[in-house]
């Protein structure tokens, strides 16, 4: 009995050790993969910066006198940037790269932090940035609420804050200076215009919704549906299902869609990934490029390539390149000029006309 029990134990131990070693080895030998990509994205960050001016936004203007701070020269200032999510998707990668590139271009000292999708970390990140001597802050907020502790610290030191891509629930020109972001309703509206153009304004169309309970989903849906109703009564939205902003979900939902509604003329995907999933589904069902018109929002390189290949009709961009506009806003503001409270970043769009030439600008 004894020897067998012992050997059993050893086998099991060996198994355990092998398991742990393999997992270590797996992590170890692949670590170096990401370094190559950074350069490419940095170069890309400079491409396609089309920027509105900081004063051309909406809402009453804000000056440094009204905010209660002191003028400074941005060139000699330290800028703190707090990113909300890990740079794991093209949007976040391009956003951070754009901020970095602009700081480098202007020769400004930049401190960065990444909250890795944890709000408590973002709060302490920002407090750290302030403690390390940031004179101005650019924040990509993870949440809209819960910013009071940070805003208190910042306003005690009169540190100007610009938030990008998401708004915070606080008073503009008192708690923060400006918000710079895309107009998601407008994106939906422009997607509708592209859909009308692609389908000729007639037939049944479907919507692949984003994640439920997300304001981006609600606004991109509202803009699209309202515009279709107003401009193309011949287009009927007969199907609205969530693809949760993921390619796999977009694919399986579309597979069901094209079987139950084979006559579908167009699919509006509220982000590129779901649109690419829809392309997969159409290919799998033996459809040809262009049989079903697909319009998506985001402007990632894969989706723009989809236009070049003929599978996607149009892509409305959601511009992640906040760097130039954020620094321009802070520059004007710290000089004493008036800046708008809500600044809308200019989103481009890609169609068959410009996809081939502009694909280099896609992120």
């Amino acid at each position: 009995m004894k020897p067998t029990a012992l050997s059993r134990r050893t086998t099991a131990r060996t198994l355990l050790a092998t398991g742990l070693l393999t997992s270590l080895a797996l992590t170890g030998c692949t670590k170096s993969e990401d370094s190559g990509d950074d350069k490419a994205t940095e170069q890309q960050a400079d491409a396609g910066q089309e920027v509105a001016s900081p004063s051309a936004g909406s809402g009453p203007g804000c000056t440094i006198a009204a905010y209660g701070g002191e003028k400074l020269d941005l060139k000699n200032a330290t800028v703190g940037f707090s990113q909300s999510e890990k740079e794991a998707n093209p949007f976040r990668i391009a956003e951070t790269a754009s901020i970095r590139a602009e700081a480098k271009k202007r020769g400004v000292k930049l401190l960065t932090a990444n909250a890795q999708s944890q709000f408590s970390k973002q709060i302490s990140d920002v407090q750290d940035l302030i403690a390390k001597g940031a004179d101005v802050l650019v924040i990509a907020p993870l949440n809209s609420d819960g910013w009071e502790p940070v805003l208190k610290t910042a306003s005690a030191k009169h540190i100007p804050i610009v938030t990008v891509d998401r708004k915070i629930n606080a008073t503009a020109c008192k708690d923060y200076v400006s918000f710079i972001g895309s107009d998601f309703v407008e994106q939906g509206k422009r997607a509708a215009d592209q859909m009308i153009e692609a389908t000729g304004g007639k037939g049944e169309i479907a919507i692949l919704l984003g994640a439920a309970g997300n304001n981006v989903t609600t606004e991109r849906t509202k803009g699209f549906v309202d515009q279709i109703k107003a401009e193309a009564p011949g287009l009927k939205v007969v199907f609205q299902q969530t693809g949760e902003f993921a390619r796999e979900k977009g694919q399986s939902v579309t597979e069901n869609l094209i079987q139950s509604k084979p006559g579908i003329k167009g699919i509006y995907a509220e982000n590129d990934e779901m649109g690419l999933g829809a392309v997969n589904a159409l290919k799998g069902a033996g459809k040809k490029a262009g049989d079903v018109k697909i319009v998506t929002i985001d402007g990632t390189r894969n989706a723009v390539q989809g236009i070049v290949d003929g599978w996607i009709s149009g892509v409305v961009e959601s511009n992640p390149r906040f760097g130039p506009l954020a620094f321009q806003t802070l520059d004007s503001f710290t000089k004493g000029d008036e800046v708008a409270q809500d600044i809308v970043i200019k989103d481009t769009e890609y169609t068959e006309a410009n996809a081939k030439t502009d694909i280099g600008k896609a992120y």
């Binding site: 059993r8 099991a12 797996l26 890990k86 794991a88 609205q240 299902q241 796999e248 079987q259």
Partner: protein, 320 residues
């Protein structure tokens, strides 16, 4: 079945209830199929059955491993993350060729399974806690290895995902073969019987001299391997590695399939046929609601109803 109990001369309500619980999942599948035959346009087509079968394949494969874990009175919450880990590994090693990449993905899944099994068998950690730890860890490793979605352009992978033999997709064939294999192991092998004995009563199994630890480790390793297979197949179907979203909430779908299929959470019994039917039931439920364009929130609520019904059934069974 009703006739049978009546023929015995006494309305055995208990027995009737038990039959409903045992076969309710099949009745559910039949009812949903009947509903769709009548009310869903273009439901009856080879193309549609093919789609449904392909979509259910990864869930089913994961559920097979889950059934083994639940049979030992355990659970494996790490399966969804193992899918993510396997897709990351696959994508990273695809440069060395499809076969080495698939092997690495399997090794990754088995490694997580061994870690799960070791925690359960040697440290006596509750399966729900042990596999929860690995669920978090494996997703983390997956995202370190591959932080963002990457397209898979390997033609071999693409044909694995969309190819077929005489009209039956590879994914479906693989899922069916694995279901038969697991059913055979559970029903016809010594290991299967030992596994159920461990699930029935671990102290009794130990007293009987069964290699309890080894059995537990093998079960979790098998669950990890099956989840990795599901991850590989899902990657092939999507022709992309997406460790951020692949396999999220898969553990819940798998547990639902197993429990709805009549395998008790208390261990000691595994119903592979029921598990297959359970996976098909969830797939049909989702697909029915999608095809009829019902609000997505309704889909979630319908799934909740099925889960509650299944857990209720399990509770009744547990009382006996």
């Amino acid at each position: 079945m009703t006739d049978l109990s009546l023929a015995r001369g006494q309305v055995d309500r208990e027995r009737l209830l038990r039959l409903l619980q045992e076969y309710g999942v099949y009745a559910g599948v039949v009812a949903l199929l009947a509903f769709n035959f009548v009310f869903t346009s273009n439901f009856v087509s080879a193309e549609n059955f093919r789609t449904q079968a392909v979509q259910v394949a990864p869930v089913l494969i994961v559920a097979l491993g889950m059934a083994l874990a639940i049979g030992t009175e355990g659970v494996d919450l790490a399966v969804g993350s193992v899918m993510a880990l396997s897709t990351s590994l696959l994508s990273l090693y695809l440069g060395y060729g499809m076969v080495p990449a698939i092997l690495m993905a399997l090794v990754g899944g088995i490694a997580v399974g061994l870690a799960n099994g070791s925690l359960v068998a040697f440290l006596g950690v509750q399966p729900i806690v042990a596999t929860l730890a690995l669920m978090v860890a494996a997703r983390g490793i997956a995202l370190v290895l591959l932080p963002q979605l990457e397209d898979v352009r390997d033609p071999g992978m693409a044909s694995l995902g969309s190819g077929d033999v005489l009209g039956v997709p590879y994914l479906v064939l693989i899922a069916a073969a694995l279901a038969l294999l697991v059913a055979f192991v559970v029903r016809r092998t010594t290991f299967g019987r030992q596994l159920l004995a461990v699930g029935d009563s671990r102290p009794a199994a130990r007293l009987a001299g069964l290699p309890v630890r080894r059995i537990l480790i093998i079960v979790y390793a098998a669950s990890g391997a099956l989840a990795a297979v599901a991850g590989i197949l899902a990657t092939a179907r999507l022709t992309a590695s997406d460790p951020t979203s692949l396999g999220t909430l898969m553990e819940l779908s798998a547990i639902t399939a197993v429990v709805v299929g009549g395998t008790p959470l208390s261990g000691g019994r595994i119903r592979i046929g029921g598990t297959v039917a359970g996976a098909v039931l969830i797939q049909l439920l989702t697909t029915t609601l999608i095809k009829h364009d019902l609000q997505p929130s309704w889909t979630q609520m319908a799934q909740a109803v099925v889960i509650v019904a299944a857990v209720y059934a399990a509770r009744e069974r547990g009382k006996r």
